[in-house]
């Protein structure tokens, strides 16, 4: 980005109503806008491309950056077709308005979802600029080409910059089917390029939600119910009000998508005072019956009960139950995964200003300004045109910041206080309040015949995200999200005799939501460990056993690449072992090989080799970075803390009880990309699901002990 021009650019675009750049706090303190006169005309060639008459090019990134690299990956799709270099353009974040379409970073959808639309937007603009130049020169557009922000007339060598063409070009009709570049001509896509946003992230200049200041704002720290859904019986704020800086204490609410909980907010002139005031509050909670009824132990007991009964069939081939009953070599067992907090290091936070005219301005780290806009409009009963959302950088999210309770809390408080309010959650709020990845049970049945895995049943059991968050699951319906997670259409295993995927919804009042890779992070554990069990039952090498039943060439290629890169067939010295797993999610296939070594009573994770086929990708280094992150998060989910509830209350409160993997526990990592040339798949999540099962399978290979419940204590495997 051209930092020198950014401020001028902001001044100009703010007058013409365009989005919002990353330097929000410096902008907020900027000179009054009315004193500024735009020297140049900004022209919207299409919603994603703005070119001004001075030649500045602005690309709109419709996917908030939570660390997944969308600041580079998404504008690259535009820049490639527009023939501009990313370091010579300004990049701004979309604001949620409808003209930008889907704007939520989630479901690993950025590149795979925008691959066609944004390349088309770039190519359309290129064609409009080319046509404008050709007209001006009175030549055929076929004699002209675009390069580095200019249209060049090939025969004469004369050129015009995009800035010189923008005004006329913006008046042309946008071509519906512009010609896209041949992938072999890509200059940006698929090439290593340093991320343009990294320098500001290593100098403390990057502006996250937590870093935004708005004039006149007050701070809020919110006391949530320890029971999550408890009701306030009484509030004693005597001690709170004695604290310097505390302005007031207000009864407030935490609006979740499916229900609203009561809460108490301490408002202060600075957040530390608000937090100190919150700690001094004495609130009695009417916890209903939650202390007796709500616990993860009770929840899991229900899931194990459900495993004894038939679920709702999602798909079935052959008569699985009959075949399983008569099978001679078979296994039946359960695999459990815990509830997990997302725990982004930047806690949930938001600034909301409900203004006197009823309009609302927001500064917040949200994964999707479009969803945030929808939720704010629904909750505040306002129209989209009354809301302005400034999306900041996100200090991690992993799904959490697409759940807008913290944002709506700030809406509620600002409406009541009639001034900008900044809500900052504590780590304790983040860990004790959820929403969490649901804990799940995989009830597995399978059999082998003649040394081959031919029968398989995955019974997925637990609370449904569709059901709880969206109230969208019927009693007699299997969770539809299973199709992209554990269906045989997804895992491409051909179980020759019989197979079944089924579902039982066990409900809970513990709030849940998607977490990096969603159900794949749960059910990948059951599927891939159980396939390993069946392979051993069949007397087969686990990798060979998979190749035998996989009918998809891309899966095979990924596994074969893994075998080669991880030296799968080479024997390890005594005291070391490897395990593998493969899983497809979000249209990408990823396989991992984990090497473990005996260490005292347990094991040490020495190395993880991961292979991913994500089709076309933008930056190979970012694919690797995301996969590295998935490895660490996958291992963390396997061997560090889960979330448990006892007597209605979350047992973990901060990182001393909800431990995350640290650098001293992190293994060596190696990532390999399979270039399949397929349509882009996801990158932010698919590396995660195979990690925990590859580790579990490695532990079995090392010790003969089959781990079936996560998390487990890797330091003590006795």
């Amino acid at each position: 980005m051209k930092n020198t021009s950014r401020r001028d650019f902001l001044k100009t675009t703010s007058l013409t109503g365009f989005g919002f750049a990353l330097g929000v706090s410096s902008f907020a303190k900027d000179a009054p806008l009315k004193k500024l006169t735009p020297a140049v005309l900004s022209l919207e060639i299409n919603p994603f491309i703005i070119i001004d008459t001075a030649g500045n090019i602005t690309l709109v990134n419709p996917r908030p950056d939570m660390g997944q690299g969308s600041t580079q990956a998404v504008p690259s799709l535009l820049a490639e077709e527009l023939e501009v270099s990313l370091d010579k353009v300004n990049i701004i974040q979309s604001d949620g308005k409808g003209k930008y379409g889907n704007q939520t970073s989630g479901g690993s959808s950025s590149v795979r979802g925008l691959w066609q639309p944004l390349r088309k937007a770039g190519a359309a603009a290129r064609e409009m600029l080319t046509e404008t130049a050709a007209k001006r020169w009175n030549v055929s557009s076929t004699e002209c080409f675009a390069q580095d922000g200019k249209i060049i007339h090939r025969p004469s060598g004369k050129s015009l910059t995009y800035g010189e063409l923008a005004d006329d070009a913006s008046k042309l009709e946008v071509p519906k089917n512009p010609k896209l570049k041949d992938p072999k001509d890509f200059k940006i896509i698929g090439k290593y390029n340093k991320r343009i946003d990294v320098p500001e992230r290593v100098t403390g200049k990057a502006v996250y939600g937590l870093d935004v200041d708005v004039p006149g704002m007050v701070y809020a720290s919110i006391l949530h119910s320890p029971m999550v859904h408890g009701k306030i019986a009484s509030i004693d704020d005597t001690d709170t009000k004695k604290i310097a800086g505390v302005l007031q204490v207000v009864k407030t609410e935490r609006p979740m998508p499916h229900r609203t909980s009561e809460a108490v907010a301490v408002i202060a002139t600075n957040w530390w005072a608000a937090l100190k005031g919150k700690k001094a509050l004495k609130v009695q909670w009417d916890n209903g019956n939650y202390d007796k009824t709500l616990s993860t132990e009770k929840y899991f007991a229900q899931t194990y009960e459900a495993a004894k009964k038939d679920g709702i069939n999602f798909e079935e081939k052959g008569d699985f139950t009959a075949k399983f009953t008569s099978a001679k070599q078979k296994i039946e067992t359960n695999y459990e995964t815990p509830f997990l907090a997302h725990a982004p290091i930047e806690p949930e936070n938001a600034i909301v200003h409900v203004k006197d005219d009823g309009s609302i301005e927001i500064w917040a780290p949200v994964q999707g300004p479009d969803w945030a806009l929808r939720d704010v409009c629904g909750y505040m009963k306002v129209k989209p045109e009354q809301v302005k959302i400034n999306v900041t950088l996100l200090g991690g999210a992993f799904g959490r910041k697409a759940y807008h309770d913290f944002l709506l809390e700030a809406c509620h408080l600002s409406k009541e206080l009639k001034k900008p309010v900044k809500v900052i959650w504590t780590r304790e709020d983040d860990i004790t309040q959820g929403p969490y990845r649901p804990g799940m049970l995989s009830h597995m049945q399978g059999f082998v015949e003649n040394g081959k895995i031919t029968g398989f049943h995955h019974h997925a059991i637990g609370e449904s995200i569709v059901g709880q968050v969206f109230k969208g699951l019927k009693e007699d319906e299997a969770d539809p999200w299973l199709s992209e997670e554990i269906s045989t259409g997804n895992n491409k295993y051909n179980f020759a005799t019989a197979s079944k995927i089924s579902w039982t919804n066990v409900k809970t009042d513990i709030p849940i939501v998607w977490w990096r890779s969603v159900y794949a992070s749960n059910f990948g554990w059951g599927q891939e460990c159980f396939i390993d069990e069946l392979a051993h039952l069949a007397g087969k090498d686990p990798l060979q056993a998979r190749l035998e039943i996989l009918e998809d060439e891309r899966f095979k290629k990924v596994l074969e690449t893994l075998a080669e890169k991880a030296h799968w067939n080479e024997k390890l010295p005594a005291g070391k072992a490897k395990g593998i797993a493969v899983f497809k999610s979000f249209d990408s296939i990823s396989a991992a090989c984990v090497t473990v070594a005996k260490q005292e009573n347990g094991a040490k994770i020495e190395k993880v080799v991961s292979v991913i086929d994500c089709g076309y990708y933008v930056n190979p280094d970012n694919v690797k970075a995301q996969t590295e992150g998935n490895i660490i998060m996958g291992l963390t989910s396997a061997i560090k803390d889960g979330i448990t509830f006892t007597n209605g209350v979350c047992d973990q409160t901060n990182f001393h009880q909800f431990n995350l993997m640290r650098i001293n526990e992190a293994p060596a990592i190696e990532i390999h990309i399979v270039d399949s040339g397929s349509n882009p798949g996801g990158v932010g999540e698919p590396g995660l699901p195979p990690i925990a099962p590859a580790l579990g399978n490695a532990i079995f290979a090392l010790t003969g002990k089959r781990i079936r419940k996560l998390p487990f204590d890797i330091s003590n495997l006795a």
């Binding site: 706090s25 939570m66 660390g67 997944q68 340093k194 991320r195 946003d197 990294v198 320098p199 992230r201 290593v202 100098t203 403390g204 200049k205 990057a206 502006v207 937590l210 870093d211 310097a244 600075n270 957040w271 530390w272 937090l275 100190k276 725990a343 982004p344 290091i345 930047e346 806690p347 950088l393 996100l394 200090g395 991690g396 999210a397 992993f398 900052i424 504590t426 780590r427 280094d621 970012n622 970075a625 995301q626 590295e628 992150g629 998935n630 490895i631 660490i632 998060m633 963390t636 901060n654 990182f655 001393h656 995350l660 993997m661 640290r662 650098i663 001293n664 992190a666 060596a668 990592i669």
Partner: protein, 163 residues
């Protein structure tokens, strides 16, 4: 409320705040330097790491009243003294950050490590950096970047090498 004098990034600063207020919030909300981050409030994540007289500390657990008069604080904004520190340069070369939120703290810990241990082994790095959590999982790159910075500083080709 009480008045405190301290030196932040070589600038003398006077603040009038609650004596209990942790240095983290003083630096962020009263000095206006937002690069130092809040992550846990109990010294478990290291996002708030700054240097106190050259030593890495967790600013979220350091009440302003516990600091000696004119204590010298260095934050991420001052660590390169107007330029990029070799560690910051290595962080860019290795493309370490993902979300980047924890990286201010990581960098402050790494700079402190190289001051005392110019040729760190992986074990030295693990020991010095294990107080800094990264939820994005950039640990492998952090190790590589620290080795790279150590090499650069030995070669004396980068600013910050002598510090």
């Amino acid at each position: 409320m009480a008045v405190f004098n301290l030196t932040v990034n070589n600038k003398k600063i006077k603040v009038d705040v609650d004596p209990d207020m942790p240095l983290l919030w003083v630096v962020r909300d009263f000095v206006g330097l937002k690069g130092t981050k809040f992550g846990c409030g109990m010294a478990m994540c290291g996002a708030c790491t700054v240097h106190l007289n050259g030593q890495p500390i967790r600013a979220c657990q350091t009440p302003i009243s516990s600091l000696a008069k004119n204590a010298k604080i260095t934050t991420i904004e001052g660590v390169g003294e107007g330029q990029l520190h070799a560690i910051q340069q290595a962080w860019i070369e290795e493309q370490v950050p993902q979300c980047g939120y924890c990286q201010s703290g990581q960098i402050m810990s790494a700079v402190a490590l190289l001051k005392t241990t110019p040729n760190p082994t992986d074990a030295d790095i693990d020991a010095a950096m294990s107080g800094n959590l990264c939820r994005c999982g950039t640990y492998d790159r952090i190790r590589k970047a620290i080795h790279r910075a150590a090499d650069t500083m030995k070669a004396g080709t980068s600013v910050g090498g002598g510090k």
